[in-house]
Subunit: 320 residues, 3 copies
Amino acid sequence: MITRGNPQLNRNGELIHLLSTEGLGKANINHILDTATNFVSVSDRDVKKVPLLRGKSVFNLFFENSTRTRTTFDIAATRLSADVVNLDIARSSTSKGESLLDTIDNLTAMAADVFVMRHSESGAPYLVAQHVPKHVHVINAGDGRHAHPTQALLDMYTIRHFKGDIHNLSVAIVGDVLHSRVARSNIHALTTLGCPDVRVVGPRTLVPSDMAHMGARVCHTLEEGIRDADVVIALRLQNERMSGALLPSSQEYFKHFGLTTERMKWAKSDAIVMHPGPINRGVEIDSAVADGPQAVILSQVTFGIAVRMAVMSIVAGNEG
Amino acid sequence: MITRGNPQLNRNGELIHLLSTEGLGKANINHILDTATNFVSVSDRDVKKVPLLRGKSVFNLFFENSTRTRTTFDIAATRLSADVVNLDIARSSTSKGESLLDTIDNLTAMAADVFVMRHSESGAPYLVAQHVPKHVHVINAGDGRHAHPTQALLDMYTIRHFKGDIHNLSVAIVGDVLHSRVARSNIHALTTLGCPDVRVVGPRTLVPSDMAHMGARVCHTLEEGIRDADVVIALRLQNERMSGALLPSSQEYFKHFGLTTERMKWAKSDAIVMHPGPINRGVEIDSAVADGPQAVILSQVTFGIAVRMAVMSIVAGNEG
Amino acid sequence: MITRGNPQLNRNGELIHLLSTEGLGKANINHILDTATNFVSVSDRDVKKVPLLRGKSVFNLFFENSTRTRTTFDIAATRLSADVVNLDIARSSTSKGESLLDTIDNLTAMAADVFVMRHSESGAPYLVAQHVPKHVHVINAGDGRHAHPTQALLDMYTIRHFKGDIHNLSVAIVGDVLHSRVARSNIHALTTLGCPDVRVVGPRTLVPSDMAHMGARVCHTLEEGIRDADVVIALRLQNERMSGALLPSSQEYFKHFGLTTERMKWAKSDAIVMHPGPINRGVEIDSAVADGPQAVILSQVTFGIAVRMAVMSIVAGNEG
C-alpha cells in the first residue's frame, strides 16, 4: 500500500505531515529537535501546559492497539492544550465495513486538525495524507513494518542530548531489524543527520545481508556489531518471532544477542543503551544493563513527549 | 418500554430534554436550527471553543456501541467547554446487574448536568428523563427502533441549508424505513416543519403500506419514490437484514433501490442526496453518487456537530 | 505482596500517598474530611471547577475493571482542572509482559503527578509508592482484599455529616466482611476516629470470630448486630460468593441478613443506612430500605467526589 511522492513537505519544504524519516531533510529533522528542546521544560513546570493548540481537535486513530504510544500522543496534545479524541477503532464504523478514507472524510467533516494514526498496513498514513484537505495534518504513529518516525526522532533527540554531534558517532541497532519499523526509521534519520557509522546487528534470519543497501553495515555477531559503538539501540523482540522458523527461542536469542554488562564492554566505556520499550528483560537486555548507568531508556520516554509536542505544533502551524 | 407524556418540554414549552422529534413544535425545531447556525462557524475558527458549558459535566452513556455518534457528541460538548465522561457501559456496573435507574441515580449524585444516551430499548431515554431532577437533562442519541432526534435535526438543518424553505419540497426516504429510527424521526420533523410531500420508499418487507399513517406516502418502486424529489435520503441497510426473510441479498437490494447516477435523473436535477452514514457503497448508494456533486453527506456530518452543540446548550439553559 | 512501613506520610506526618486508612492518624483523616467540606460546594456550582491541579497529569491505572470508581476519580481530577489519562491496562504493555514497575517508570518519565491505582493484588499500591520519585503520588482505589481507603473516607464523611461526632456512635458493618476491602478500611478509620462500638455482622463463613482482633465486635445474627446501631453499612455481596461453600444462595443470605424495613427497627429509629454500591436489591438490601428515608447511599456518592478531590489536592501539595 506504500504510495509514492513526498507529501509530508509543502512547496516551501516545510513539514505538513510526519509520515517517515525517509524524505525529511537534515534541516527538517533539526528543526523538530530544536523545537523539542523548548518543550522538554514544559513537562517540568508546575503547570505542564502551553496554549499552542488550544481549540484544535486531535484524533488518535489507532487501528492497531498500542496504549503506550497512544498515551504519549494523548499527553503531548493535551499539554499543547488541544482537544483529544481517542478512537477505539476496533469498535467503530470501520468494523461496520466503512473504508479508511470514508472514516477520515467523516472525521475531517467534524473539523479535525490533526490525525495521529497507527495502522498495520504500511503506507496507510500516506494514503490519508494525500487525501485530506490542506489544513489537516497526519502524523504516522507506526505503519506496518514501514516507519515509526516519532520514535526515530526521539531517538535522535536522545542521542544528540547525551552524545552531542551525530557526525562523530558509531551507532549499533541490535535485534530484529528486518521486521522493525523503528530500525528503518532510525537508519534513515541517522544517515540524513550524517552519522558515519550505522550498524545493524542480529542473526541472519533477522538481519539479512542485503540490508546493507540502506546505508548500514550488517554484522552477525554482537561483538563485531557493538565494538567501540557510542550508542547501542536494542530493538524489542516480538513474541511472535520467538518460536518458529526465525528464532529457536528467546533464551537462544539472549545467549547470542542479549545485552549484558559483560558484553557492553565491547562498546565504548561511555556508550549509551537505548530501547524503544517495552523491554523484555532477559531477552534483548539484561536487567543489570536496563537499570544500569548506561541506559537512557526512560529519558527516551521523557524526550518522546517533547518531540511529539514539537511535531504536532510544527505541522499544525504549516499549510499544505 | 415507550412511556407516555411529553417530558421534553417544560411548562413554558421550552426544551429541557431531547427525546424525539415527535412532540416538538415547529418553534422548538426552528429554535434549535437557528441556534445551530451560530455554532457552524465555531468549528471553522482557529480556536474551536466557546465557554457556554464550562464546568458542566456531560455523560455519554452508550449502552449500544456507536463510536461515530458518541464521537460527535464528545466533540460537540468539548467545543462548548464541557467536561465529558465517556462511559463504557458494557464494562460498567450495569454488567454487575445494576438497573438503569440506579446507574442514573449514581451519576446524578456525581453532579451530572447532561446525559447523552443510546440504548437498544425504545423509550429508555423517556424513563430516564422522567426520573432525573429538574436541573439534569437527557438527550436521546438513538433508542431502539424508536427515535434518533439529533440525526433528524441535522437532516433538517442540511435540507434548510441547501434547499431553503421546507414548505415547498418533496423529500424521499429510501430503504429499511420499517426498522429505522432515523426515518421515524425525520418523518416527524418534516411534517412538523410543514413539508407537503414526504415519501417512504422500499420493498414491501421494509416499507409496509400501513406506514402511510405517519403522514408519508408509501412507494414500492424507486422510480415512483424519487420522481421529482428535491431531497433523497438513503437509509443505511443493516447487515442483519440482508440475509433471511426480509431481503434476498444486498446485491438484489442495490438492483432495485440502490441510488445510481442514472436513477437519480428521476429526481429533480438539483436534488440533494443525504445519508446518515456510515454508507454501504454499492448497497444503498453507488460511489458515483456518494462522491458526486449532489451528495451532501459530509455536510450532514459537519452540521451534526453544530446541531448537537445547539441542543446541548439549549437544554442546559432551561429548567424542568 | 503487602509490604511494610508507612510510606503514605512524609517525615512531617503529611499525606503524600493514600494507600490505606491503616496507618493514618486522626489528624490526617480529619484534615481530609475538613478539606472535602470545601469541595462539596464546588459540585453545586454553575462552573464545577477549581484550578488547583491545572496542568497536572493524573493517571487512572485500573488493572481491575471498575467503571464506577474510575469515573469518580476522573470527575474529581477534572473538577480540580487536572489532565486525566485513563489507561485501559488490559490492553496495554502489561499484557505484553511488561512488569508493573516498568509501566510505572515509563509513565513517571512522561511526567505523571498522581497515579490512581486499582489492582487485584493486595499491596500493589505500596510497591508503587515506595518506588516512585518524591514528587509523584499514589492513591489506592482498591487493592485485592486489602484496602479501599477513599471509600472508607467518604463513609466517614457521610457518617460525620449525618450523625455528627463519631465518638458517640454505634456502627454495624453487615455482610461479607472477610473478603471486603471496604470493611477493613472502614474498621481502621472508625477505630482511629474513636468510634467506641464497631460491629461486624454476618454468617460464620463470611465473618469468622477471629475478626475481633481488628477492634470490632463479631455478631452472627442481624438482630444482635444492628441493635441500637446509629449507622448500618451493608456490604455488596459479590456474585462469586453466592454459590458454593460460603453461602447456599443469595435468597438464603437475604433471609438472614438482608436489610428490610421490619428489621431496621432493631436499629435506632434515626439510624442511617449506607452501602458502597452498586447495590443488589433483594440480596443485601430491600428496595424499600434502599429507596427509603434512612438510606444515604446517594449522598455517599456525592461526598465521594469531594473526598477524592480532597485527597488528590492534599497529596499533590505535599512532597515526599
